[in-house]
């Protein structure tokens, strides 16, 4: 059996990689991809805690992770719709060029 902490370290590494991606990517699609990585890290945590909790058959963590996947799908759909709308109007998807509402 692989110990619980190893799953948590894997999840922490995935989360940190996602944070790095959000901070460095200039492409809006790249930022959305990094957000997906972070949501996956959260899901690994939820399922790990469900598995190693006192009552894994209760399944609360798995159901929560299912809802996280649904929300992630919804956010990706709306985010990519926004990217396409911005590209149509401003011909760029680089976030440093989207400065219309900045001072």
């Amino acid at each position: 059996m692989i110990p619980q902490s190893h799953y948590l370290i894997l999840s922490a590494a995935l989360f940190s990689i996602g944070v790095f991606g959000i901070l460095t990517r200039k492409n809006a699609i790249g930022i959305l991809m990094s957000i997906e990585l972070i949501l996956n890290a959260a899901n690994i945590n939820l399922i790990t805690f469900n598995r190693f909790s006192g009552k894994p058959a209760d399944g609360l963590g798995q159901i929560f992770a299912l809802f996280v996947i649904a929300i992630a799908a919804a956010s990706a759909v709306v985010g990519l719709g926004l990217v396409i709308a911005i590209y149509r109007n401003r011909k760029t998807i680089l976030v440093n060029k989207m400065d219309l509402m900045k001072w």
Binding site: I2, L10, L14, R51, A76, L80
Partner: protein
């Protein structure tokens, strides 16, 4: 661990414990490597393909945690739908190969420091805590129970999530629709 794999291992004579580790750690390392490729790849299209591989690796980790249904859902929804959507969006927008770090070394360096700092704080928290694996040997949730609790105990969140999906669908159509001149 998947039961088919255990059957296979019974025939080869390798101990389950060692075999499980021999498969898990390479998968974990590969997943992290692919994730790093997602954020550092120069070509955003390659990033999307690496994202698909990362998500498949995470699905394998779910299998290790006895969450078979979640692993299937992960592959169906993430790899099947979301990554396809990403690739479509990349194809529809022009800037495919942009420099990921934008030429600003200072910002990359600061971001790397922030990410590594967060990582070490999390590692510290994980290693300082004494985890008691209470349910390590207990049976996990089966698919019938999962479906039943989704339809009885958690039916209200389930309905709310369907409403959110509908709102996202309508919202994406409204946002993405071309305006009539």
């Amino acid at each position: 661990m998947p039961s088919g794999l255990i059957q296979l291992l019974n025939n080869t004579g390798v101990s389950h414990e060692i075999a499980a580790k021999m498969i898990f750690y390479p998968i974990a390392c590969l997943t992290l490597l692919f994730a790093i490729s997602v954020v550092t790849s120069r070509n955003i299209f390659h990033s999307a393909l690496y994202l698909a591989l990362t998500l498949i690796g995470v699905a394998c980790v779910y299998l290790y945690l006895d969450a078979e249904f979640l692993a299937i859902v992960q592959i169906l929804i993430y790899v099947g739908a979301i990554v396809t959507l990403f690739i479509f969006t990349i194809m529809l927008t022009a800037d495919i190969s942009t420099v990921p770090f934008g030429g600003i070394m200072r910002r990359t360096l600061l971001s790397a420091i922030a990410a590594i700092g967060i990582f070490f704080i999390l590692i510290k928290v994980v290693s300082k805590t004494t985890w008691q694996a209470a349910g390590a040997g207990a049976p996990s949730l089966g698919l019938p129970e999962l479906g039943r609790s989704l339809m009885t105990k958690y039916v209200l969140p389930f309905e709310v999530i369907s409403l959110i999906s509908l709102a996202a669908l309508v919202g994406a159509i409204v946002i993405g629709k071309a305006r009539k001149k």
